[in-house]
Every structure is written in structure tokens, then in C-alpha cells.
């Protein structure tokens, strides 16, 4: 076992040194930018995708290190998690995704709490996850910001793609404040509207205020609200907020989103659906294994998340959650899109990641069979052209 890790270490180091040029050959390559390629190859130069096509079309130039895989997909994107802010030990010292002092804290930055070397970051990287949309957990009305980060695992400065991706909002039971405000759904909406109205009226020459600064960006549509809303009543409230303030929102969770397909479509809103295997209960009582598939089939852009877990498992793995959707009626390629290109689109990073296309970051996941089969293995994960994981997981 030790030898194995040692070998892996040298391979990784070697790969990093030889970052420049790599050819990844796959029996099947799901580019997510067109039909899958059989017996394909991806050429990588300086961390970016240089070419992609069949092995007969593309000649591997001399000096390229060749990596073989059975199935290649874009590096997976977990569209909503708390990994890195919350750690695997679940002890007070590694749980940083919620400050309970007050219910509205849009100024809390995820980058100030993200631990790039957290064990869970390495864990999901081993299953092919290369990008996380992570941040404060849905347990307060406005728990804080989210960020987008690669799972490279070096440090927050190097790994971060987007410092402030969204401001998280929690509607419904999870966003109530025990014994204090907000104590009801109606109060949640009242408090949220009051915050946004206050920011609208803030004078440009007023003294700096961290809350106002971030709300201004939301009102200017620079940053969306990521609104955790599970029940239909909460989803409707979220859509109303978006309409009233003309802001961008993303629905997070959406257990009952299949009841509001028409409304969500008309509002042009995307949904990052709860983990497929999330436990039914509370506001999620009516969740279904088929929701992501139904929304996508109706034309809504859908991603699938690993979400927030308070206990065991401390994180879910988005690969398994998408697999379960594929096993329950979601079109196979739609399920893969929900953790690659569609997730990238929702997060606004599809120019950089989410598909295997020329000029994009060379983030790849490699498998020894159908990635969605529970018995398949992830055989390698590549970020920016570096093999960052070669454990067989």
C-alpha cells in the first residue's frame, strides 16, 4: 500500500513537471459538446484543451505523454456543496459554513473559510469532481456567500475560479431562526425584501457597509441569489422576489419544483436539484428520484448537487447522485450534463469548464466503465492538464 502511494506521488509530481503536453486516449469520450467520440483523443497543451477528436483524425504529436482511459468525461462539477467550509470530522473547529449570530449575513465570504486541503476535497476529487460551487450552508435566511473553486487542493488563492459566485438564501423551515426572527415564512420574505429595499435606497456617498456592497451587486445582476427553496410555496416566493427586484436567482433544492414547471420556465430560472438520494422529510418530504429528469425534459436547465449534510455521510458524491437520476428516468446524457456542462452554464463558468472543447481548461475525469455504474471506478482526475488523482476509487 505504501509503495502504491509512493508511486502515485511520483506519477503526480512527474505529471506536474511534464504539465506541458498530454494526450488522453479514451475508448469513449463524452465531450458534452456534441456526440460522444468512440476511440477518441484529447490533446492538452499548457493546461488547456488543444484538440479533441477520433484517434484516426488526430495524430498525437511527438513528445506528448499518453494517458489511456476507457471512458473520459469532463471533470465533474458539484453545483452546490459546503465542502471545504465544512470538514469531514464534523467538529466545531471544522464546521465553518454557518455563523449563527444573526440571520442575515451576505457579507460572509466563502473564500475566507475554504480549506483547500480538507479531506473531503481530496475525497470527491478521487471520484472525478474537479469543480465545486461551495459556500455557506442553507441553515439561515442569508447565511453568506458561495464561491467556485477547483478541487486541486493546494490553496484557496490558486484554486479559486470565482470569489463570490452567489449569495445564499434559505427559505422554509431550514431558514427559520429558533425563537427569534424570522420565525415564519412570511417573516422571511418580509426581512429579505426589507434588506434589498434598504440597499436600493443606499446613497452612493454613504460610508462603506459590507452588507450594502454585496446587495448592490445582487441588484445590479452581477451576482445571483442562490435561493434554497424546497416546497412549492417557497419556490413561488423566490420567483416573486426575482420579479420584484429584477434580480438573477437560482433555485437550490427544488424538491417540489416539478409542481411549478410552467412558472419556473416562464421566469427563466435554473434549478440545482437536491441530491437525488436525499432523505425525504421536513420540507423535503415530497422529493422524488425523478425531479431532475422531469425538469430537464421540460426544458429547464438543471444541475444536480451533493448539498449539505449535517452528519453521515458528511458529503454526498455528485457522481452517485447523477447516477441515481440516470437510473430513474433521466436521460443518460442529461444526467451527465447536470454535473458537467449544465452545471457550468448555471454557474456562468461554461466558457472555461464543463465540456471537452478547444480552449477550455483541461479538466477531465476517467473511468474504467460506465461512470454511473456503482461498480465502475474513477481511474484518474485531471485539472488544468495535471493528473491530480490516480487513486482507483
Amino acid at each position: 500500500m505504501k509503495f502504491f502511494y509512493l508511486a502515485a506521488f511520483f506519477i503526480l509530481t512527474g505529471a506536474n513537471l511534464a504539465l506541458a503536453q498530454i494526450a488522453v486516449k479514451g475508448e469513449k469520450i463524452w465531450t458534452m459538446a456534441g456526440e460522444p467520440i468512440v476511440n477518441g483523443v484529447v490533446l492538452i497543451k499548457d493546461g488547456k484543451i488543444e484538440a479533441v477528436g477520433t484517434q484516426s483524425e488526430i495524430k498525437i504529436p511527438a513528445g506528448y505523454k499518453v494517458v489511456n482511459a476507457k471512458v473520459v468525461t469532463p471533470g465533474l462539477i458539484d453545483a452546490r456543496t459546503v465542502i471545504g467550509l465544512n470538514g469531514y470530522l464534523n467538529q466545531p473547529h471544522d464546521q465553518m459554513a454557518l455563523d449563527g449570530s444573526t440571520p442575515i449575513q451576505p457579507e460572509l465570504r466563502a473564500i475566507d473559510a475554504y480549506d483547500a486541503q480538507e479531506k473531503l476535497v481530496e475525497w470527491v476529487r478521487g471520484f472525478g469532481v474537479t469543480t465545486l460551487h461551495t459556500g455557506h450552508q442553507p441553515s439561515a435566511l442569508v447565511p453568506g456567500q458561495t464561491m467556485i473553486v477547483k478541487t486541486t487542493g493546494r490553496n484557496v488563492e490558486e484554486d479559486t475560479l470565482v470569489q463570490t459566485a452567489a449569495v445564499a438564501v434559505t427559505l422554509g423551515n431550514s431558514g427559520l431562526n429558533q425563537g427569534k426572527s424570522p420565525g415564519t415564512r412570511a417573516k422571511q420574505i418580509s426581512m429579505l425584501r426589507a434588506e434589498l429595499i434598504k440597499a436600493q435606497g443606499a446613497r452612493p456617498d454613504a460610508a462603506r457597509d459590507l452588507k450594502t456592497e454585496i446587495w448592490k451587486k445582487v441588484l445590479a445582476k452581477e451576482i445571483p441569489l442562490l435561493i434554497n427553496a424546497e416546497k412549492a410555496i417557497d419556490i413561488m416566493s423566490a420567483l416573486r422576489i426575482a420579479k420584484e427586484f429584477k434580480i438573477r436567482i437560482i433555485i437550490d433544492g427544488g424538491s417540489e419544483a416539478d409542481q411549478l414547471i410552467k412558472e419556473i420556465k416562464e421566469a427563466g430560472v435554473s434549478v440545482i436539484v437536491h441530491p437525488t438520494m436525499a432523505r425525504p422529510g421536513g420540507d423535503r418530504e415530497s422529493l422524488s428520484l425523478e425531479t431532475a429528469g422531469k425538469l430537464k425534459a421540460a426544458g429547464i436547465t438543471v444541475a444536480i448537487q451533493s448539498g449539505y449534510e449535517g452528519y453521515v455521510p458528511k458529503t454526498r458524491v455528485v457522481l452517485f447522485e447523477a447516477a441515481m437520476a440516470a437510473g430513474n428516468g433521466m436521460k443518460w446524457s442529461d444526467a451527465l450534463a447536470a454535473i458537467t456542462i449544465d452545471a457550468a452554464r448555471i454557474l456562468g463558468i461554461d466558457g472555461k469548464v464543463g465540456s471537452i472543447a478547444i480552449g477550455k481548461d483541461a479538466d477531465l475525469a476517467m473511468y474504467d466503465g460506465d461512470p454511473f455504474e456503482f461498480t465502475s471506478h474513477c481511474t484518474g482526475t485531471m485539472i488544468n492538464g495535471s493528473l491530480v488523482s490516480e487513486v482507483i476509487r
Binding site: G87, Y88, L89, N90, Q91, K119, L120, W123, V124, M277, R279, P280, G281, E285, S286, L287, S288, L289, E290, E309, Y311, V312, P313, K314, T315, R316, V317, F320, A323, M324, A326, G327, N328, F372, E373, F374, T375, S376, H377
Partner: protein, 473 residues
């Protein structure tokens, strides 16, 4: 033949109860009409069921994974009176001439899954009054209508060990239940021995869950935890000795003590100890206790089994493991490994799986086996761990766990490879009765989720389509 009249007795009783209405004094006449209707329909139901029990059913053209013995490609399974009367390939099995034939072409049939550690059924156990409460029975706290029992049926689970929690050194007695349909009382789910007693174990735990610093009588350290348990077993040894000395003389018997009675059953090997334990040192502590007091044991969770697999194998103790898709969640599971199944298999130890529902969901219990295979366990041992290994741990290996002649007709019909994410449990059969059928909309809802899926079971008369609530729904 002895089991059959029993089953019918229970059925009659259950129908009687099922036809009782909630009180509704304003609508008495209508209610009486309905009672008569339901009574009539019940007799029809009963007649049908009796016929079903006598008639044999043959599932043909299936791929059969009997667990004991090799998979059979062109398999036939014949069930009658709640039992398996034949299983084998088409050539070796003679299908009775009057058998109902079910064409299972393209399907996979395997034994009903056995979950050796679950919390379905809304069960409760010990309260906060003491760390060791062997007197408390989950038997007295099961809700036979709990929706969680139905959800487990959709996952192909036919037998389950329901346990109280791990917040005590001993949180009480567990129950082994058959997930039969239409139970109205816990007795309808029990598995009886010939002497009329029912199967169940007892739950123990060590590690951090039962430790409550400053918690009065609860332990504050691991050493204290072990000492408290040893003290109780020594007390039980004394109690047993008093009973032995009394030699049947009632006047010399010790005063009845429910806790001691349960622990004497443990010392006598009649009640298996299901010991929640995570860390390698805690696992070895359990083995040490077993050696001292000689109780029969199943290690539960065993998160660090991979560190002490040889020791577990040497002690000849079975393990019931859980597959969790990420490490941690609490300190003592930081080193939990998905390789536990493979490590135990390699060491030659008996390993089964459990859901610990709701830690993992009963509806996709088969996924546990698939993940174990992903991390190095053989397919054969993984499927064995879902069925036969657990049957052995629950002392039920002569009745369930494999498809063999004479065993209970507990089996599942799958759409394909049991380890594939694309496979669904299509039917679950318990003792020859279909308890889950994915093609029924109400069953599908429970399997997949959606509005109403979380509700507890409502009255459901198979051949009565009326309004049993008397007031409209």
C-alpha cells in the same frame, strides 16, 4: 403444514380489524351498510387468499441467483403455501400441472434482502434514566403502519433487525421482523420459534455515542463504559446462578428482574448481542467482553474493520457493515473505509450489510453491495452479505437467506443485474405474498418519491375499493 393454519388465524384477525371504522356517530346507518359490505368483501378476500395459499406458483425463464449454489440461467422457482417447493433449472424442476405460471424472462430472482441493522418502524428503546436498560423492548414501541416499513419493501428487504439507538451502552432488546403486508400490530410482523417465542437480539454500543461527560450514571470514558457493562454481566451471572440453585423451587427463585432476565438470555446464548462499535480499539474491547462472558455476538458498523480484520476473523465473530460514501461525520468514523467488506472477506470473516436506515435508505440497499464490490469485495460475497450472511447472524439461516427447497418464499424480482444502478426491484415477495409491485401506482410512489410518499400506511383493502374512512377522503 403447522405454519399454515397459524397464518390463516392471523389473517382472519387482521381482516376483522381492517374492517373497523373510525367512530362517526352522525353517519351510523351508512356506516352499518359499509360494515356489511366490507364483511362480505372480506369473506371473498379470505377465500381468494386461502386458494392462493394452496395453489403453487412457478416463476419460469428467470435468471435465479439462489445465493447457496451457482446462479441458474434458465431457472424455475416454485412456491406454495408460503414456502419454496422447488428451485433449479428448467430441466431439473418439474412444475406442478396446476401451478400458476409466471413468465419471468429477462428478470433476475434472488432471495429477499435481509437488513441486519435498521431503525425503520418508528421504534424506541431505552430512555435517559440509565446507560444499561436490557429490560426495554423495541417490541413495545414499533408502529406497524410506519411508512418506513413500506419503503423497505420497495428496496427488496423482506427481513429486518430493528434496533433501538446507540446512545446507551445497552438500549434494549431488538426485533427481527418479516415485512409482511397489512400488519396492524407488531405481532403480525414477528418471526416465531416453534415454542411460541419470537426472534430478537439485544443492542449494545461502545465508543463515543453512549459517553455523556457529566451525564450522571452514564459513562464519561471508554474504560468506564467497559466497566459498567462488565458489572452488569457479573450481576446477571449471579442471577443465573440463583436460578440454577433454586432448581425449579419457586420459593427459592430470585425476585423477578426484567433486566437480569434479558441478560441471562444473553449469557445462555438465546439472545445475540448486536454491538455498535466503530474504532479498532473499541472493536477489540467488544471481542474482549465476549471472551469474558461468552455471549454470542454480531459486530455492528465496524467502521475500522479493515484495521483489525484478522482479529475479527480469529474470534470467529460476524460483522454487519455499512457502506457510507464519505469518511467522517464524527470523529470515530474518520477512518471508515469502503474496503471493509473486501478486508473481512480476505480475512475469512463473515460479513453482512445493513442500512442503519435512515443513515442509508432501505430503498437502495442493494447499492451497498455494489459499492463494496467497487472497493474490492467479490460479487458472490457481496450478494451473500445482503442475504445469507445476515440470515446466519440472525439465527434464521434455516428459514431465509437463500432460495432453497423448504425455505420461506421470500424473494425479489429484479429488472436486471442486482448491482447495477439501472436495475429496479420490481417485486418483493414475503412468504409467497406479493408485498411490493412496482407496476402498482401506489407502490411506485413509495419507491420513487413524490407527494404522499412519506405518509404512513393507510387502510388498503386489496379487493375493496370503497371509502373505508366513512367521511370521505
Amino acid at each position: 403444514m403447522t405454519a399454515e393454519p397459524l397464518r390463516l388465524d392471523r389473517l382472519e384477525l387482521s381482516l376483522h380489524f381492517r374492517c373497523t371504522f373510525p367512530e362517526n356517530p352522525t353517519n351510523r346507518r351508512l356506516r352499518m351498510q359499509k360494515v356489511f359490505t366490507v364483511f362480505f368483501v372480506s369473506i371473498l378476500c379470505l377465500t381468494t387468499v386461502v386458494m392462493a395459499q394452496k395453489e403453487s406458483t412457478a416463476f419460469i425463464n428467470a435468471k435465479i441467483i439462489p445465493i447457496v449454489g451457482q446462479p441458474i440461467d434458465d431457472g424455475v422457482l416454485v412456491v406454495q403455501g408460503g414456502r419454496i417447493i422447488a428451485v433449479g433449472d428448467r430441466k431439473s424442476v418439474k412444475v406442478p400441472a396446476d401451478a400458476r405460471i409466471v413468465n419471468a424472462a429477462g428478470k433476475v430472482i434472488m432471495p429477499g434482502l435481509i437488513d441486519s441493522h435498521s431503525h425503520i418502524g418508528d421504534g424506541s428503546g431505552a430512555d435517559g434514566s440509565a446507560p444499561i436498560q436490557p429490560d426495554v423492548r423495541i417490541f413495545d414501541g414499533i408502529n406497524p403502519r410506519a411508512g418506513s416499513l413500506q419503503r423497505a419493501q420497495t428496496g427488496g428487504i423482506t427481513t429486518v433487525n430493528v434496533m433501538p439507538g446507540s446512545g446507551h451502552l445497552d438500549s434494549g432488546q431488538t426485533l427481527y421482523l418479516k415485512l409482511r403486508d397489512d400488519a396492524i400490530k407488531v405481532e403480525d410482523l414477528l418471526i416465531y420459534r416453534p415454542d411460541g417465542s419470537y426472534f430478537g437480539g439485544i443492542k449494545f454500543a461502545n465508543g463515543t455515542n453512549p459517553i455523556r461527560p457529566g451525564g450522571g450514571t452514564f459513562p464519561g470514558t471508554r474504560a468506564k463504559s467497559a466497566a459498567l457493562v462488565r458489572e452488569q454481566f457479573i450481576k446477571a451471572q449471579d442471577y443465573r446462578e440463583k436460578i440454577r440453585k433454586a432448581a425449579g423451587d419457586a420459593s427459592k427463585m430470585p425476585t423477578r428482574d426484567l433486566a437480569m432476565e434479558a441478560l441471562v438470555e444473553v449469557l445462555d446464548g438465546k439472545r445475540v448481542v448486536h454491538f455498535h462499535t466503530h474504532r479498532h480499539d473499541d472493536i477489540l474491547t467488544v471481542l474482549r467482553l465476549k471472551q469474558e462472558f461468552g455471549f454470542r455476538l454480531v459486530l455492528q458498523h465496524v467502521s475500522e474493520a479493515w484495521k483489525v480484520a484478522d482479529e475479527i476473523a480469529k474470534a470467529k465473530v460476524p460483522s454487519s457493515i455499512i457502506m457510507i460514501e464519505a469518511p467522517g461525520g464524527k470523529l470515530e468514523t474518520m477512518d471508515v473505509s469502503m474496503t471493509n467488506g473486501a478486508a473481512l472477506e480476505k480475512a475469512g470473516a463473515l460479513a453482512g450489510f445493513h442500512t442503519d436506515d435512515q443513515i442509508t435508505d432501505s430503498r437502495w440497499f442493494l447499492r451497498s453491495a455494489a459499492l463494496a464490490v467497487r472497493f474490492g469485495m467479490s460479487r458472490e460475497k457481496a450478494l451473500y452479505g445482503m442475504t445469507m450472511a445476515n440470515a446466519i447472524m440472525l439465527d434464521l439461516a434455516d428459514r431465509i437467506g437463500s432460495l432453497e427447497t423448504g425455505k420461506d418464499a421470500d424473494f425479489i424480482v429484479l429488472s436486471g443485474d442486482p448491482l447495477s444502478v439501472y436495475t429496479h426491484v420490481e417485486q418483493t415477495w414475503v412468504e409467497g405474498k406479493l408485498v411490493f409491485d412496482r407496476s402498482r401506482p401506489e407502490d411506485y410512489l413509495i419507491a420513487v418519491g413524490g407527494f404522499g410518499a412519506g405518509s404512513d400506511r393507510v387502510f388498503d383493502l386489496d379487493c375493496f375499493d370503497g371509502d373505508v374512512y366513512g367521511g370521505g377522503k
